[in-house]
Symmetry: C2
Subunit: 229 residues, 2 copies
């Protein structure tokens, strides 16, 4: 499907039909998700396709049994997992060493800056203080300093991936609904996620029922959101 | 362009050519951005296309003059602006009243839940406490309770829109680079954003130079990110 047609076709659907979603359709969308851009290419995201019937039932309950979850054929939990950098940063360093022309500053970034940013959690208050002190005198990246900042960064990247996933489903003729109305601590326990991980959203998938939306897509005055400065 | 081709074509580009980006190409991508799903359809996001030469120069400095910003033809600041709900929630209520069949619970949501969630900031500690107390006994949406939670929600939605924007540029043959390495407080002052707003990222736009990337796209072991549960 044409890209812009997929963007227009994507609507958040509250009710699905009984039509199953083929495995290859799901996999293709999951593969598209992890091609999204992400912070420092550290890829600290997770896409959990919950298939086990007992777990799926629990997950629907943790989405407050809303109809978008209850009637869904498939459910994917989109996770931000800041601790994944410990696995991916060494891979990134190995990868850079295979390339002929990489600026020294990029290698330095993965050698020094990434560990200082994603690790060294005990220094959080100092990082915050130092970043903001430097920032008084010259432009400086103030975030991420705290653990919450790190979660936020990975929630942002996870959302970029989630949008790829949802558009990929639309491009293949299936519908989705991103749900933030969910019980995050319970979902974290269900998936045995580490303490520092966050649930960005749960995405339900299926074929849109004829009454899957309440009306046309509502978008308000363009100049409230798009600004020419 | 085919959707999956656009996903594959999108790479984060660090160096651009001198080729200008036509206005209609930018506008088409901005229009695609605001078709993304977003929290409660409150659309509390902002896409600031910075065109004024003096402001653009400042913005490049606030992106620490990195080459992805320095060599860019255009720059768009992606903003999360939680206070926009005061403008959009009344519109959403008006819109729902024009529809023939909307469940009462949906109208109630925009009448009561949205103001309680996005407003009532003085009650933040109580909200946090009550949500988590209820959550002990049954699945309950614990967030957003605090101001930071609200910013996080809107950063997430802004990221969904940002991904639409970047893919739309790729689908039109242009390249982008999302930058989180920027000085958020300075950019907020430059754009005169309200106190509660956040800068999710700055996206640079242009035609990719032949040395715009250091190598092929690096994605690590699929099963670190995609999980079948």
């Amino acid at each position: 499907m044409d890209f812009f047609d997929a963007v227009k076709a994507r609507r958040s659907i509250r009710k699905y039909t009984d039509k199953p979603v083929p495995r290859e359709v799901m996999d293709r969308a999951l593969d598209a998700a992890i091609l999204a851009p992400n912070s420092s290419n550290i890829q600290a995201w997770g896409f959990y396709w919950v298939q086990d019937p007992a777990k799926k039932k629990k997950l629907v309950e943790h989405c407050m049994s809303q109809s978008a979850a209850r009637t869904a054929q498939e459910l994917v939990v989109v996770v931000a997992n800041p601790s994944l950098w410990r696995k991916t940063n060494p891979e990134m360093k190995k990868f850079l060493n295979t390339l002929p022309k990489v600026p020294t500053i990029v290698k330095l970034y993965y050698d020094k800056v990434v560990p200082a940013t994603y690790g060294w959690k005990i220094f959080t208050p100092f990082k915050w203080l130092i970043y903001n002190l430097i920032g008084i005198f010259k432009p400086f990246m103030r975030r991420p300093a705290t653990c919450r900042d790190l979660q936020e960064v990975w929630i942002k990247s996870a959302a970029l991936g989630a949008e790829n996933f949802m558009l990929a489903m639309a491009a293949q003729g299936f519908a989705t609904c991103p749900m933030e109305g969910m019980d995050e601590p319970r979902i974290k326990r269900l998936l045995r996620l580490p303490w520092s991980a966050r649930v960005a959203m749960v995405i339900s998938v299926g074929e849109a029922a004829s009454n899957g939306t309440w009306g046309p897509q509502a978008r308000f005055q363009r100049d409230w959101f798009i600004h020419y400065v």
